[in-house]
Amino acid sequence: MKDTRDLKLKQMMSKYTTFVTFVVLLFVLAVLTRGRALTWDSIKTLIIAEAVRAFASLGVGMIIITKGIDLSIGYVVCLTASVAASFAQIPTYETALYYGHSFPLFMPILMGLVAGGLFGLFNGVLVAYGKLPPFIATLGTMSIARGIQLIYTKAAIVSSLTPKFKAIAQNSFGPSFFQIPYLAVYVVVIAFIVWVLLRHTKQGTNFYAIGGNAQAARVSGINVEKDLVCVYFYAGLLYGCAGVLLASRLALANALTANGMELDAIAAVTVGGVSQNGGVGTVGGMIIGIFTMGLINYGMSFLAIDSYYQYLVKGAIIIVAVFFDMKKYAKRA
């Protein structure tokens, strides 16, 4: 009887590892800061900080489920942020990219999404039909995105954005003591959409099948190439959203916007249980992974851990997460 209970507990722990990790971290942080790190203001800071990364992480998470990878995230988000910002500049701003032109609010959002979608499509075609390894294909597009960003902006900072555009990511709602950032709502909505896609559509099931065994997926009638193009395209759209929100939050975009976001996003979904071996991962896990990494960043800042040491801790956590992930799936194999 005791053995059965132990087994059930082990299965529960294994299934909910990411969640357990998050709760343990919350608990540790609460104890170390005597609860001060978990005030609503602090939680709000964490949500705002991780919301943009959540979009990028959900995108690359889907790609990793198909056993791919995307290194172009940071520069594509940088490009989409710059494109979006350029259509949201105050028209009378003397160095505005479209000086004298006033665009409706949907334009920066649309153009950011178009830029992200096109890059996603390009990545997908290179991987699916060009048969390039995703690592190499997206390494190339990473550089292309950077080049286009520099050419488009002439390496200048795209700033002086309209108040309406800034409000998209900077505003909150609710009573003054419990303000909820709009960003939190966007994350919930997009997580729900990706969850529906992955769990309740045939294409979502195909993504898992392709990541599990592309050859077997093909034999079973799945159009692997088409689905791969789609997954990179969807990810591109999510990067577009991330860019729009980032430009709105910062009220600017420049060549260093989203610097290194690809590593943060990949690390977050890996910690969240998305296997680098493909075919495994949940939206819930990804979201918890994102906020786990955010909590680690936040916690270390809060605990006054010097930046020099933060790199060590974050690096160690990523290595440990991947190590246990590989061990887990090696056992299954």
Binding site: L32, I157, Y308, V313, K328
Partner: protein, 364 residues
């Protein structure tokens, strides 16, 4: 997999406890111990100047028994904004900031102002509007245009002494830039070209491109330029010392050397940087780098830290000197110190040209 949870918890707990107790830094928010708490927000710590700056602030904090919290934003504005918000939640109110981008400074100051805090900015200037958020916000840095002018002055002095190397007073320049759009990149270049023009030289830019402040990119760029423009340039100007030293290596490896160093360098083409890092001074002592311009990391950090410390400890009065630098009184051409209404919030730490005759060179 539950091991993962344990390992993660152990890591954060160990890290937290070690630094909360042994690191000499408070893990708490307010200053219940009476110790002044200051946070240093760095845009990154990869460049030599910024390393020197942050090390100087650490030293000053230790001397004043200040609890210092250092955060590196890895050049990401969003990360820096989050770090600021986190520290404000924690109870930090006083900040020394090297911002990722000027345009972020107003938003940052509004957040700090809401908590009744103060901040001083260096290296990347805050906007005029950012300083207008309150009288407790400061600019403690060096005017980049002047730094560029000094580099131009050193080049003009070199060719005045060696007119045969610039026939017809023509300066044929390879210009290695920092990050494009960076205020230092824009203003140093403008100052350099303006000074050479004032001194009667015609500047022909043979090649001009960014090496993003890094020696390795600079060396690669120079290798390519040497292949394309050998014999067509007579000076190499880099916007920081790291890139200048990358160019020096490239020139040496491509045979641009001579045995005579009477003109101040054994390179056939003089190379100049900006920052006067110790590596640059060492290179000058080896007769490689010709000259540099001191951007005083210690002076800037001392001014920024001191003015914030004065506010935190309640001793600040408008017009006080900070870290040995007087508050500015007369507006200059470069923002934000071009606005008379906030000029008293600016501490302009002077650049200093450094060649082999300069006091700085002789004492380092």
């Amino acid at each position: 997999m539950k091991k993962l949870a344990l390992v993660l918890a152990a890591l954060i707990a160990l890290g937290g406890m070690a630094f909360a107790s042994g690191g000499g830094q408070s893990s708490g928010g307010g200053s219940s111990s009476g110790q002044v708490q200051i946070a240093l927000l760095m845009r990154n710590i990869d460049e030599q100047f910024l390393k020197d700056y942050s090390e100087s602030v650490r030293k000053l904090a230790a001397e004043k028994n200040v609890a210092l919290n250092v955060q590196d934003a890895r050049s990401d504005g969003a990360t820096q904004l989050t770090q600021l918000q986190t520290l404000l939640n924690q109870g930090y109110k006083y900040f020394v900031i090297v911002p990722c981008v000027s345009e972020l400074s107003e938003q940052m100051n509004q957040l700090i102002q809401a908590k009744g805090g103060a901040a001083a900015y260096s290296n990347i200037q805050p906007t005029v509007d950012a300083l207008k958020v309150g009288k407790n916000f400061f600019f403690a840095s060096s005017p980049e245009f002047v730094g560029g002018r000094y580099q131009g002055q050193l080049i003009a002095d070199y060719f005045d002494k060696n007119p045969g190397k610039a026939p017809g007073k023509a300066v044929n320049m390879l210009l290695i830039l920092g990050q494009l759009g960076h205020p230092a990149q824009v203003n140093r270049e403008a100052g350099l070209l303006a000074e050479l023009k004032t001194r009667g030289y015609t500047v022909n830019i043979i090649a001009r491109d960014t090496a993003n402040w890094t020696p390795d990119q600079s060396q690669q760029k120079m290798d390519a330029w040497i292949a394309a423009y050998r014999g067509k340039f007579n000076v190499v100007a880099a916007q920081n010392d790291g890139m200048a030293l990358g160019a020096v290596e490239s020139l040496i490896q491509n045979g641009f050397t001579k045995s005579d160093s009477s003109d101040g360098t054994t390179l056939t083409v003089p190379v100049l940087g900006i920052d006067a890092t110790q590596d640059a001074i060492n290179s000058m002592k080896e007769n490689k780098l010709y000259a540099t311009v001191l951007q005083d990391a210690v002076g800037q950090s001392a001014s920024a830290f001191d003015v914030v410390y004065q506010i935190a400890s309640g001793t600040y009065k408008a017009g006080n000197a900070a870290g040995g630098t007087p508050a500015a009184t007369t507006p200059i051409d470069e923002a934000p110190a071009n606005d008379a209404s906030i000029i008293g919030q600016c501490y302009l730490v002077p650049f200093v040209p450094v060649d082999k005759n300069s006091t700085y060179y002789k004492t380092h």
